[in-house]
Symmetry: C2
Subunit: 441 residues, 2 copies
């Protein structure tokens, strides 16, 4: 058996501690599979005194993670600090320049600097593993980059953020059936409960505003299509505006609402978007519940493949980190995004305004004569064709507000946005009109 | 770029032709990913004259596949002949002994001779790829052997045969909803339709009797648990006895019937079984419809991961074959079952008689006094506890037969089999009693 793979870990939060625990608990199995032992030789974290329930005897301690990247006696540096800029970025660059492989769970870093870091890693003949950065424990990077490597991928999409999926699932009351007290509750209420349970951060904006999903999507896009990482071109819209009413109407119309990250090739251009979607209930992706993640890839020969599993948490993320470490120990060193960074295509991005799909529109209008005619005229003037409309019951008093739901036929985003801007200015429309895109998967 | 990887393909049926087409259609993408071209240099098939729509100019032709394995100018031999014995076996052995890598889609070969062939391959420093042998296009071998390599896997199971899943889905009428004319039809009728559509072979026994699923399961077991392939210990029961009545009662009781292959570690012993299962409708595996396959793995850190995709067909199987070829071109050479063949454990197998689960029992009894008492006594004498019983309506004439459905609490297989043998001998029981195991996933 070869000599041990020496590993330095920067960051001992949930994932870092989970990684050390996994390497310790399954040391024998891992050594048998990797052909050599995986040995943690150095760690770095903010507070040396804190009890993490880990045996760190014989492990070199660094207060400064960048010093660890430079000086630790290690073949690989595992970056679990997070954030798209320094110290994480400097740490990764320092480790690569010192000739060490890097494994990271940092989606923000990869989304912002993936192409450059891949070029750096390949230039020094080292690898940059990031299985843990996308969809937690699901080995989707390996799945795309190796398992489906024979295919031209035309589309990749998924439920990539467990917090959002937990909130949407709870709002729909799917998790515990009709008896679920949260079914029918609004976003804010369910978010507060998710925060209490530890499924959402105190500041939830990174998750609920779709940014985390967009980071992951930008990485998936590069791997799937062999193009440069282009986070700036991702259209991003979160779930804050999804209301209990939307969830109820979706159910009635045969849909579930999911926050999807979706990337596809359209005539040589890349479309990347993150937004709430109405997806037909019968689709497998519609059944992905709670904190689970799922990724679907469409390949020209394999057709459709779906991966589902836990997208976050100490154990699943550690599983992905260690899979990368075992690859390195086994000597599997591949181009970071599947083809050499220098050859990644710079593809044009499709403007969101050109996106075509049917739309669900929700208006809150005062119940008075002529309103529907004005709304219909605004749609007609943008050549938007209605598929159906639901206006049910009457307001308590004349002039009070009632919801109106409109489903359109396929329409261009720019047109629907112009129509909605005009509708929003109607005096009888008492709330910003909302839209949810209906996706055909 | 390095020199091309030279490939010899034995067998130009559906999968062989698909593989050549994939290598041709996606040659540029594949070369970019593999870092070198993948070039077919030799082929072998039974009928040289047949038009397969493939350009074979410049490709060496062999009438004898074993001669191809020995003499072709190739780095890799792709075996797509099938069957657990010669010529497939001899061809693979010959290719390995000649120092060539082998890629195969042959589950029967691996199930019967996997351990020995792995030893042979590793002994000569070559690899034996078999991603295409299990679950078609789903990269599950890579998923288990690499993606989840940090985990101790406690259980792996799946829908592994598209023919059976198509038949069971059609019987349940899930595919096309209530209007499906095949819903409520019996096994034989749906099988005939599946044969007409090309989803089932003229001789369907390999599929519907569970043997194909058992082959795949035996392979998954070895990869998941790091043990020798032990096809002989797989308990196998097919779907011929699943009736329209069972499908209807399953639906009423909240279940779907799926043919699963399931392997788990129980106190250091391996349980491998293939049989129709009642699975709760809400489970993701219950929604795997038609010819799709799915595999679920439970790991100690990753928790549960599920893969779903097409389990057969020219394109998906070719996708898996080519993924193995790209791995070889990239230089990724791993032990065949994840750890060296010499270190694969020889684990004891758990006898089916010791298996514990709740059971669904279907009896057809003459509608006369005392029958239920006799049935209940047979169960009681084996200490089998009933959870519920359904006997609905009365027979047209006295003494005619009516179905009786019994759900038991958790029971040992040996006990239920003894009780059923006794029940079968009751004079009022007019048909062999049937059982379906209820699995808790």
């Amino acid at each position: 058996m070869s000599k041990p793979l020496r590993i330095a870990v920067a960051g001992l939060g949930t994932v870092g501690a989970g990684t050390l625990r996994l390497l310790q608990d399954n040391a024998g199995t891992i050594a048998a599979r990797a052909g050599r032992a995986l040995q943690v030789t150095a760690v770095s974290a903010r507070d040396r005194g804190r009890d993490r329930g880990l045996d760190l005897s014989g492990v070199q301690w660094f207060d400064d993670p960048v010093a660890l990247a430079r000086d630790a006696e290690a073949d690989v540096v595992v970056e679990l600090i997070g954030g798209s800029e320094d110290p994480a970025k400097l740490l990764v660059e320092t480790a690569l320049r010192a000739g060490r492989h890097v494994v990271t769970a940092n989606k923000a870093l990869l989304a912002h600097h993936g192409t450059a870091l891949a070029g750096l890693a390949e230039g020094v003949g080292r690898t940059l593993g990031y299985e843990a950065a996308v969809a937690g424990g699901i080995p989707i990077i390996k799945g795309l980059r190796e398992g489906l490597a024979g295919n031209r991928i035309s589309r990749v999409y998924g439920v990539l953020n467990g917090t959002c999926n937990y909130i949407l699932t709870q709002m729909a009351g799917e998790l515990e059936g009709a008896g679920n007290p949260q079914a029918g509750q609004n976003f804010e209420t369910v978010l507060a409960e998710a925060q209490r349970l530890g499924y959402a951060e105190a500041d939830p904006s990174f998750d609920v505003d779709g940014i985390d999903t967009a980071h992951k999507l930008a990485i998936l896009t590069a791997v799937a299509f062999g193009c440069e990482v282009d986070f700036g071109s991702v259209y991003v819209e979160g779930i804050r505006n999804v209301s209990a009413l939307d969830v109820a109407y979706a159910d009635e119309l045969g849909y579930r609402i999911k926050l999807l990250g979706l990337a596809q090739l359209v005539d040589g251009a890349v479309e990347q978007r993150v937004h709430p979607c109405m997806v037909a209930k019968e689709l497998p992706i519609a059944s992905v519940a709670g904190v689970f993640n799922a990724v679907v890839a469409d390949g020209d020969f394999v057709d459709t493949v779906m991966y589902e599993g836990r997208g976050a948490g100490s154990g699943p993320t550690a599983s992905a980190v260690v899979a990368d470490l075992i690859d390195i120990a086994r000597g599997t060193i591949l181009p970071v995004f599947g083809i050499p960074a220098a050859n990644l295509a710079r593809l044009p991005s499709l403007p969101m305004g050109e996106h075509l799909c049917p739309y669900y529109l929700r208006l809150l209008v005062r119940d008075e004569p002529g309103v529907i005619a004005d709304v219909a005229a605004a749609l007609r003037d943008e050549s938007i064709s209605m598929e159906s409309m639901i206006q049910r019951g009457r307001a308590e008093g004349e002039g009070e507000a009632v919801p109106v739901i409109i489903m359109t036929h396929e329409t261009q985003e720019a047109q629907i946005q112009r129509a909605l801007a005009r509708i929003a200015e109607l005096e009888a429309v008492v709330e910003q009109p909302r839209l949810i895109r209906i996706v055909d998967l």
